[in-house]
Symmetry: C2
Subunit: 157 residues, 2 copies
């Protein structure tokens, strides 16, 4: 079947350009969490994207923010507790790996024993730019494999 | 800084020097997980520490490894599923923040609303050097606040 295609991807050298832990916060508390991380750890908010696709009954928009701390980036995102995303994530923390070649990276991870979850989709925010694939590794951790995030304007500048 | 001595450290400026996601793997599978991350993502193992304090009935030593990927560090550690550590972590992924002043960083986080878990202790491995404190934030995430890890020899060099 797709064996040859899969092996083609699995053997390809994949270069990752960034690693970003993403904290999934029960919506709509991500904005509060961002404030907490600023106060508690001195994190600096580099950008925030608003997801306007919320349900009519939800009062607050869902956000996804990019925080900078000690030269690293941490993403903080609202997530609906009843969504399939949360259920498949399993844990409140996933790790985003950025690469120019999402397809090859997903194929390589699957070739090594990870399980792909869902299809590769177009990302919605500045935190994950362009295409996003998701794999769960044999140890239960979820990895988001994304094309590089768009450059964002520093909201505190 | 003017605020430096208020609230027993809670207002003190705290500088973090590194952010490292730590994946807690059910013991003794961390070594397998490290091999998987090398194969799947091309991670490079920078160092590995062995915890010899395992129980007599356990065949394999517990390890903690430091992986380098895209300029970031990811820690992968064996953890006993019946240990208090796992129960208090709640999730399989915690984030280590390195700082020279663990006490002040813990105090500041607690001042902002985090809950300290346990006492500040001496770390056991190269991944977390020296003193280690643990706080849970109001959103359920656990942060390990550690003094900087010792420099480690590249095991693949």
């Amino acid at each position: 079947m797709a064996q040859e295609v899969q092996n083609g991807g699995a053997d390809k050298a994949v270069k990752f350009t960034a690693v970003k832990p993403q904290l999934m916060v029960e919506a709509p508390k991500a904005a509060d969490a961002v404030q907490f991380y600023k106060t508690a750890f001195g994190a600096v908010e580099a950008c925030r994207t608003v997801n306007n696709k919320r349900k009519a009954e939800e009062e607050l928009p869902h956000i996804s923010a990019q925080l900078e701390l000690a030269g690293s980036t941490i993403l903080v995102s609202d997530i609906c507790v009843d969504s399939a995303t949360v259920k498949s994530h399993g844990s409140g923390c996933v790790i985003c790996l950025e690469t120019e070649d999402v397809e090859a990276a997903v194929a390589k991870a699957v070739g090594a024993g990870a399980v792909q979850e869902g299809e590769i989709t177009e990302g919605e925010g500045a935190c994950c730019g362009g295409r996003v694939g998701k794999v769960k590794d044999p140890y239960g951790f979820v990895w988001l494999i994304c094309s590089p995030a768009k450059k964002c304007v520093d909201v505190e500048a």
